[in-house]
């Protein structure tokens, strides 16, 4: 009886916070509240050319058509990797979902959702990203790039997105000009 309860009792927390996720791929989930209307946030994100403004590893995104884009991403040792990404769901003001093309070195898919925050606090933005590590040796280096600390990567990108949307700029204290220091 108790077994049954534990299996059927619904937990209100998102699956990305599970202690023992029951899946092979790597799931990242992260939510931030941004003090702007969701339509503005959606519009900025939907113009994919804006993404490198807050995604540090993304060097460039070439928009090929309404759904298809080509991503150039920094890899270790000064290398870059490229793949095509396809928008598979698009609900203006609410949601964008994408997945990499089948020939990508590292299969990835994700979605960004925009919901009105309760009590007028702006918009709750949730990013969910799924990485599927490659089976063979090919692309191992690239996989490493994503698997090292993918959570850290995702939360930094969301933080920068929030900074840019709320303040108009990305906070920085990079030496030497933003923050001089002695050698």
């Amino acid at each position: 009886m108790s077994d049954k309860i534990s299996h059927t009792m619904a937990d209100d927390a998102p699956i990305s916070t599970a202690k023992h996720p029951n899946m092979d791929a790597m799931l990242i989930g992260r939510t931030v509240t941004i003090n702007r209307p969701r339509e503005d946030l959606y519009a900025y994100w939907r113009d994919l050319r804006n993404l490198p403004n807050f995604m540090e590893n993304v060097r460039a995104i070439r928009v090929i058509d309404d759904r298809l884009s080509r991503w150039t991403v920094a890899a270790p040792a000064g290398q870059t990797v490229e793949w095509d990404s396809i928008i598979v769901e698009d609900e203006p003001g609410r949601l964008i979902a994408w997945k990499s093309s089948q020939d990508a070195d590292i299969l990835n898919s994700g979605r960004i959702e925009f919901r009105d925050s309760p009590a007028g606090r702006g918009t709750e933005v949730t990013a969910t990203i799924l990485y599927d590590p490659p089976a063979g040796a090919a692309g191992k280096l690239v996989a490493k790039l994503f698997q090292k600390e993918p959570n850290i990567q995702a939360r930094r990108e969301l933080r920068r997105f929030k900074q840019l949307m709320e303040t108009g700029e990305v906070s920085t204290a990079k030496p030497p000009h933003a923050a001089p220091r002695a050698e």
């Binding site: 850290i152 930094r156 700029e169 906070s171 030497p176 000009h177 933003a178 220091r181 002695a182 050698e183």
Partner: protein, 391 residues
């Protein structure tokens, strides 16, 4: 330019470093005319705050003249004289809109915000010259400083108010003020203040302005107790008397209604708990030495208020959680929401209601800043506040 930089425990030097530049639209560059050494700088000096890197420019109490503004800054103009808050706040996030500027969600860069998120559960705000936990921003003990989000923080000072009257708006005056505000003072209240350094002294002044009937100040340096007395406080020298018994007796057995810990993590004193804390800190087993805070919590009256402006950074041993819970104390704490309090405090200074110049004991050129640190550390009786003049 020249700047005071940190190189290790009790090793600060004046070095030549690159000039700061405008990098974001809302930035400004300030030419520093006056900057002070803060008691909390001594925590950095003594190596108690993690995530310092050799070469970091220190200093978070400063003011000066605007010499350059970014294209997105419509508030400041070249030539403005400004005092700059030590906490950096964006002005637009949920926290800034609630005037909880010291909780700004955006000013700590994304890369450094991770550390405080791990330590404290959420990313903390950015601050000048105070380790990489708060963003790694260069401080103001320098000839020039870059001020991010400068259309939110800096307050323009009217002509006729000289630097030394307004410099402390950057940190210690609002910090002492917020410490007293956090006491929720009611008529008839007695407020006890541990630590008569600059923040403690300003908390005494502020408590009276906010309606306290009595203030009792606790320290052991004669000069500091004398200054507390001049501000109207009754004084207790903890090296001479049993503090708890004294407070009980002086308040008719009720106890102080509100207590302020203006000491923080490097508490002095030779109580057994403090000696143990010191020993642990020396061998790297602990960071904070909360001897004053323990006494504060035990001394506060039942149902009273505890205010903690003193800086803590890590964990504390033997925290009197029983006294806190059983007596039903309310604790308020935090880094100061400087931006919130600056305008009203500037008005009080202008109107002669608050004077902070009595505190300054030493004035030095920037080149002598390392001596200033040493003096402030070693001669806490005579050296109450050191102001540096970089130009």
């Amino acid at each position: 330019m020249r700047a005071l930089t940190w190189h290790g425990k009790q090793d600060v030097r004046v070095d030549s470093v690159p000039d700061p530049e405008i990098v974001n639209p809302r930035d400004a560059i300030i030419k520093i005319t006056s900057t002070a050494i803060c008691g909390s700088d001594l925590h950095l000096y003594d190596g108690y705050i993690p995530t310092m890197k050799s070469g970091d420019i220190l200093g978070h109490e400063f003011m000066g003249e605007v010499v350059e503004v970014g294209r997105g800054n419509e508030k400041l103009a070249k030539g403005d004289r400004v005092v700059v808050p030590f906490v950096i706040a964006c002005g637009h996030c949920f926290f800034c809109e609630k005037q909880q500027f010291a909780a700004c969600d955006n000013s700590n860069p994304a890369e450094t915000a991770d550390m405080s998120e791990i330590l404290y559960g959420y990313p903390m705000t950015g601050a000048f010259g105070y380790s990489h936990l708060t963003g790694g921003y260069a401080g103001g003990q320098a000839e020039y400083v870059r001020v991010p989000y400068s259309d939110v923080g800096p307050i323009v000072i009217p002509d006729g108010l000289e630097d030394e009257k307004v410099l402390f708006l950057s940190d210690i005056l609002p910090t002492g003020w917020m410490a007293a505000v956090n006491c929720d003072i009611e008529p008839g209240d007695t407020v006890a203040v541990w630590g008569c350094g600059p923040v403690g002294l300003f908390a005494i002044q502020s408590a009276f302005v906010l309606g306290a009937s009595r203030v009792i100040a606790i320290d052991h340096y004669p000069r500091r107790l004398e200054l507390a007395k001049q501000l109207g406080a009754e004084v207790v020298n903890y090296q001479e008397v049993r503090v708890h018994e004294a407070l009980v007796e002086m308040t008719g057995g009720i106890g102080p209604d509100a207590c302020i810990d203006a000491v923080g993590l490097e508490s002095h004193g030779m109580s057994i708990d403090n000696v143990l804390d010191l020993a642990k800190a020396k061998v790297g087993l602990a960071t904070d030495r909360p001897a004053a805070l323990r006494q504060v919590i035990v001394a506060c009256r039942k149902g009273g208020r505890v205010s903690i402006p003193g800086v803590y950074g890590g964990m504390a041993d033997k925290f009197p959680i029983g006294a806190l819970m059983e007596k039903g104390l309310t604790i308020k704490s935090g880094q100061t929401h400087v931006q919130k309090f600056m305008p009203q405090l500037l008005e009080m200074i202008g109107g002669g209601k608050l004077d902070t110049t009595f505190l300054i004991s030493h004035r030095l050129p920037l080149e002598k800043a390392p001596e200033g640190y040493k003096m402030f550390k070693e001669q806490q009786n005579e050296v109450t506040k050191v102001v540096l003049k970089p130009h």
